[in-house]
Amino acid sequence: MLEPLQEPFMQRALAEVVLVGVAGGALGCWVVFYGLSYAAESLAHSLFPGLVVAAIAGLPLLLGATPAIVVAALAIALAARIAGVSREAAVAVVVTTMFGLGVLLALSPQSPPGVEALLFGDVFGVTDADLLTAAGLVVLVLAGLRLLHGRLLVAGFDRGTARSLGVSPAFADAALLVLLAAGIVVAVQGLGNLLVVAVFVGPAAAARQLSDRMLPMMVLSATIAALAGVAGLYLSYYAGTAGGASVALTIVAVYLLSLPAGQLRASRRPMLPPAKATIA
């Protein structure tokens, strides 16, 4: 059990999945309640050309991912303004364009070998500098979530009346997307472009089965994501399976296990006492 911990690459990989799990798990609860699963997946795919450019230039991946995600978000916002183009269609067009551009770059002669690492993650190749940047971004995401908690809660509860409560739903959406982008940039390092969405959806969907308050749900989701990440790495270490994919599949397995647990929990809940019509 402790043997893998002797290996420095494993220590760094464990630190990476815990960081990814904490940010992804906490953000994921909002992703689920704001219906942003598709957006999360799209943002992840659309930063692919940035990753390839960074790989070609020999720069840290985060440096490539950040501008790509900003370009994608702006392009989606602009495309959605064209009359007759729905938001969904705008996302689809932008994501395919960006991903196609990334593939084009990745298959060019200048591109270094190892594109799979960008698509499927290279959790065992994480460097100390990557970890430091990831830790910084995770602190940023958690601080952002703490600051915005009340407002995100209001806008997600009922968009129609949010404004009368002093909260702009558009601001809440935008702020959440920025935090999500930061979270994706952290997670893409370990889980890769194609698998990253697992950590933003799976743990939160599992935690939702087991809790009905936002804060406990976020804590639970982050814990599930971090533990599933660690379990996935052990699986990968002993079974010789790919790191990112093992983590993603462990997360899905935890979600499947949470379903009967949620059912059991719901059936054990006492009925509410009937409403009292008396008023003081």
């Binding site: 009368s164 019509a277 008396t278 003081a280």
Partner: protein
């Protein structure tokens, strides 16, 4: 009656852009008064509520709102699977007066708990919002408006989907809150609920009539113009029924 009304609208036209969604609206609501906003679905009731909240484009006329408004939306509009307690929802009413970096703290939660007590839901503060009954959820949303220190309560179809005892309890609560000097606007399509209010404003894209319920609701032509249908007398039954035209929205 105090000299300064809480809401005063004159010849008001408002819309989501430069086309008016409602027009020629004029009414005045004083402290302690309840006003029923009567009209068909899609007739502009919710639009008028949003205009009072200042969320719409004023095209013509004047609208003066002299008190803080608290909205009480239809509870179906909010998410019933949302992970919040009744207390969490009531606490949302405190956000507007906090600076953006501050989260509601102990004082805010105390204020929210008091408001829940006021609407008779103190024992249910810790319960998940989505597990409460329709009437209880409506009360939680009223508590949230009370936490906002709202001088005017805007209720959107508060009685829809409620059983008789819940509706009566809610009606009594609204009466008390008005009695404490608040102005209350209730959007409804229920003639009986409208009859219980101090004023009735009939609206179908434009204002059809406004006045005391006895006068307004006795006029068959007003009701026909409001609902765009035919009014029929049901033998043996009290009051009248409305035969709606085919549903067609513009």
């Amino acid at each position: 009656m105090p000299a300064e009304p809480l809401i005063e609208a004159a010849d008001l036209s408002a819309g989501y852009d430069s086309t008016p969604a409602i027009s020629s609206v004029g009414f005045s609501l004083a402290a302690g008064q309840t006003l029923a906003l009567l009209g068909p679905n899609g007739g502009g009731k919710t639009t008028l509520l949003r205009a009072v909240l200042g969320e719409l484009h004023l095209i013509e006329g004047t609208l003066r709102v002299g008190a803080k408004c608290g909205t009480v939306p239809q509870t179906e509009r909010s998410r019933l699977d949302y992970p919040v307690s009744a207390l969490d929802v009531a606490t949302m009413g405190t956000l507007a007066r906090l600076p953006w970096w501050r989260r509601p703290g102990r004082a805010e939660r105390r204020a929210a708990a008091r408001a829940l007590d006021r609407v008779g839901l103190g024992p249910f503060a810790a319960e998940t919002f989505g597990r409460l009954s329709g009437g209880q959820r409506q009360r939680v949303l009223i508590a949230r408006a009370l936490v906002q220190d709202a001088g005017v309560l805007l209720l959107d179809e508060p009685f829809s989907g409620l059983d008789r005892p819940s509706a009566e309890g809610l009606e009594a609560l609204i009466g008390e809150l008005a009695g404490e000097g608040r102005g209350v606007v209730i959007a409804t399509h229920d003639l009986e609920q409208a009859r219980a209010c101090d004023l009735v404003l009939c609206i179908n894209k434009r204002q059809v009539a406004c006045g005391e319920p006895d006068a307004v609701l006795a006029d068959v032509e007003v009701l026909e113009a409001t609902y765009g249908g035919a009014i029929v007398e049901i033998p043996g039954a009290e009051g009248r029924a409305i035969l709606p035209p085919h549903h067609h929205h513009h």
